[in-house]
Symmetry: C2
Subunit: 180 residues, 2 copies
Amino acid sequence: MSTPHAILIALLEKPSSGYDLARRFDRAIGYFWHATHQQIYRELGRMVEAGWVSVVEDETAAATRKKVYCVLPVGRNEVARWARETAVGPDSRNVFLLKLRADAVIGPLGLAEELVKLIDDGRARLATYRAIEQRDFGAASLTRGQQLQYAILKAGIRTQEMWLAWAEEVTPLLDEAAAR
Amino acid sequence: MSTPHAILIALLEKPSSGYDLARRFDRAIGYFWHATHQQIYRELGRMVEAGWVSVVEDETAAATRKKVYCVLPVGRNEVARWARETAVGPDSRNVFLLKLRADAVIGPLGLAEELVKLIDDGRARLATYRAIEQRDFGAASLTRGQQLQYAILKAGIRTQEMWLAWAEEVTPLLDEAAAR
DNA sequence: TGCCGCATGTAATTTGTTACATGATTAC
DNA sequence: GTAATCATGTAACAAATTACATGCGGCA
């Protein structure tokens, strides 16, 4: 659902061709957001249609068919609008990291509120996990199956703890007052 | 791509109706694997067709239309086969957690090798992140944008560190010798 | 000249999502 | 009786994945 915005943000960071975008999504960007070249070309077409980005056929390298895409003000506003709407769903954290990138290029976008919400959700989930831990895995000896189930739960607990610590560290960066 | 297997595993843990599965995926399971009731009913239909699961129309509660699904040996073998094939892609870790659940119900499935591979990948990625950290964020003072980009990188670093520590802790549980 | 990397796309299939639809039982 | 929950599905649409397809330029 956020793929077009991921592309817009990548273009804001650096205007590129579809091919270059695909490579960037294969490298650094791909570590936390994924997009194939087919998705990229499709979305670029749509976004040109929608007037979010402009195309410039590159002539410098003569006779190459290279097209460089650049975000127009309308697209930029769309990114800002999207960043302000609160994400829900399983990968809302990855979406939030994407928004942070947008904030880094065209910020500040007022993401503090969403982060607070994510922190609250994370705390609640951690509490749930801890309750399950006490209820199901308090016994002295566990079977192999139980140990594995406990390991899965621990992955969840550690993820929450790590993420909460990170989020609390990031909070001051997004504070309205500090963002001046 | 792993949704049908996620459903199979949930059914191995406890035979259920489509409705019950949907609820389980909304609760505990949903914390790390997501599926809607439409997906569930679609996949259940396909898996009955494929002979992976059987349906029993529940008669106890008389005149309810409740159908209880149960994994057949063929489906069980399919889970084992799938668990042994190595996952690639962005959410291969969530897939691995899913496989751990399978191992907990019908194990041991020999997942040690895949975990080793995931650990190697994780270490390599962490090294990449650390290199970027040194190259781009070593400076004494960073702009707001740079601080945000650094925060994104840190989220990646912490995730890898947390996950590697967890994975090394889980390794002995999957060790072939210990799995007897 | 034959292969690799650049650069762009289309087509077919499979998944996932959203909306719609129905009927039975239970609790108030 | 009426609202909520149980229980099942279908239909339409959007998105992602996989495979196919083309053509240029450089270099060995």
